[in-house]
């Protein structure tokens, strides 16, 4: 059973396939994880440009 705790690993692509599939199911019904996922991926998008001079 997947829980909100898997969110950061899902955002990082670090869940194994079964657990990732379970987290996708969790996203369908969880009230907080969808919004949190958007915030998490936006933060990662910003950090992914770390050190880049043309952003």
């Amino acid at each position: 059973m997947s829980t909100c705790e898997d969110l950061t690993k899902f955002a990082d692509g670090e869940l194994d396939p079964e657990r990732a599939a379970a987290f996708r199911e969790h996203l369908k019904t969880c009230e907080s994880c969808p919004d949190r996922l958007i915030e998490e991926v936006q933060l990662r998008a910003r950090l992914s440009e770390f050190g880049s001079s043309d952003v």
Binding site: A11, D12, L37, I38, V41, A45, L47, E49
Partner: protein, 188 residues
Amino acid sequence: MRHTRIRDQPPVGSGGGDRARLELDEEAIDAFREIAAAHAEYLHGIAVRFVRDRDTAKDLVQETLARGLVRFAQFKRGTNVRAWLTKILTRLFLDELKHEQVVAKAERELVTLEDIDGEIDDAVADVPDPVLWAAVELLGPELREIVEQRYVLALGYKQLADRLGIPVGTVGTRLMRAHARLRELLLR
């Protein structure tokens, strides 16, 4: 100035419906093409994390860029375009999940992307680069190190664990703490 009409495509899984017709000038279209070329690979990497296979990920990126083009006029200049596109991609992914759920329940509920620019706090996306880097500097040495190596070197959890000589679980915990601290600093 010449104008080109762009017709929006229906969202993936929406069954169509919310077609929009917008006008963009050629200069804006060229600018967006450059943006798409610069960020498509990153978006694909995120899409692969979200969906089950590469073809679906490719479709998701294509749809994201189509949405981005149509909504480019609403993009706030001076904010971060990669974060903006990533938000669109994530919204599309989440809406597709919701759509699956709706279909599974055999409900007649229309899922749309109306809130793409809506209620989510964009503080993280909109904060200027120097503020973001200052926030990273404010992390303790342990968290700053792992953030820098994760994002500058684009390393996965296992690679980070090997490099830093710590368990994979500790990598996950430290990154979670670092992200939480950054959000706290930026959203304060």
